[in-house]
């Protein structure tokens, strides 16, 4: 019905994940969880889905022998998210 809206960003959590990635070069799983106040499972499933669409990149490394997962946004993801936000803006403006 509405053009430009991206199904991939429909849930609030995904909106939050993409938003965080837009303003941070990298963000760790733990920081993402703390910031969005979501559960491990929720974050994991949404980031996996977004990774499959190539909207975000995952980096896994060991820091002090502990595994550290961090995420960054891809160029495709940035473009898609910007388009989505523009579409949202149009909808909200026309609803007023």
């Amino acid at each position: 019905m509405i053009e430009g809206l991206n199904k991939a960003f429909e849930s609030r959590l995904r909106l939050g994940i993409m938003g965080l990635l837009m303003v941070n070069d990298y963000i760790s799983f733990a920081d993402m969880k703390e910031n969005l106040g979501a559960t491990d499972g929720n974050i994991a499933s949404h980031t996996t889905a977004l990774e499959k669409m190539k909207y975000l990149a995952v980096k896994k490394e060991f820091v002090n022998k502990k595994p550290l997962t961090s995420y960054s946004i891809t160029r495709l993801g940035r473009q898609a998210f910007q388009n989505h936000l523009m579409a949202l803006e149009t909808i909200i403006k026309s609803a007023k």
Partner: protein, 209 residues
């Protein structure tokens, strides 16, 4: 999804973005205290070195380290008290807000503020070493101002303006070294107190409730 639902989601997003691009817990009270410490430091130093700081300029750091001991003691006291107050009061603000802080952002803020200040600090030491006292206050004001300007983008935007005020005071002090003592006190004392009071009334007071 309806437009209202979208709007609600966007507002939640805005909150997350604010928290991750700006560091909004700086304590205004600690800023006021910084101004008070600076003024007290200046009064003490003037008491020791004379009204025009004439005793200060009789040696270079190269010739007599001892002559500068009171100066360094007062300076480190002022800097130490200021950083300590700022650290503890800002930390308590963060705790009151109960919001997660972005450590990466905090690190960036501190680095952006510190680099110009450290450069200025090195210049000041060189000036003391060579006995070029004329521009000491100007270096402090200018480089501190540049630090605030570069760090300001991560804090409240008006901090950038405060930074420019310091730079302007510094330039005047460079041109008119005889006013240095007063310009320095206006900058580090008065400007800090006014700006701290502004942060306190604008952003901080409602936190206490």
């Amino acid at each position: 999804m309806t437009a209202a639902k979208h709007l609600e989601n966007l507002n939640a997003l805005k909150l997350i973005l604010d928290r991750n691009t700006r560091f909004l817990s700086l304590s205004g009270v600690s800023c006021i205290l910084a101004g008070v410490f600076a003024t007290l430091g200046m009064i003490t130093a003037t008491y020791i070195y004379g009204a025009e700081w004439e005793l200060f300029t009789s040696y270079t750091l190269q010739e007599s380290m001892e002559a500068f001991i009171p100066f360094f003691v007062i300076a480190s006291g002022v800097i130490g008290l200021t950083i300590g107050c700022c650290y503890y009061m800002t930390k308590s603000n963060i705790r009151k807000k109960k919001e997660p802080i972005n450590k990466e952002l905090l690190k960036n803020t501190v680095i952006n503020i510190l680099i110009p200040i450290l450069v200025g600090g090195v210049l000041c030491l060189i000036a003391l070493w060579e006995g070029k006292f004329n521009h000491l206050a100007a270096y402090m004001l200018i480089f501190y101002g540049l630090g605030l300007f570069s760090g300001g983008k991560f804090i409240y935007n008006d901090i950038k303006i405060v930074g420019l005020v310091f730079v302007a005071l510094g330039v005047v002090s460079y041109l008119h070294p005889q006013w240095s003592i007063y310009l320095w006190t206006i900058g580090f004392g008065l400007v800090h107190i006014i700006y701290g009071a502004r942060i306190y009334t604008k952003y901080e007071r409602n936190l206490q409730a």
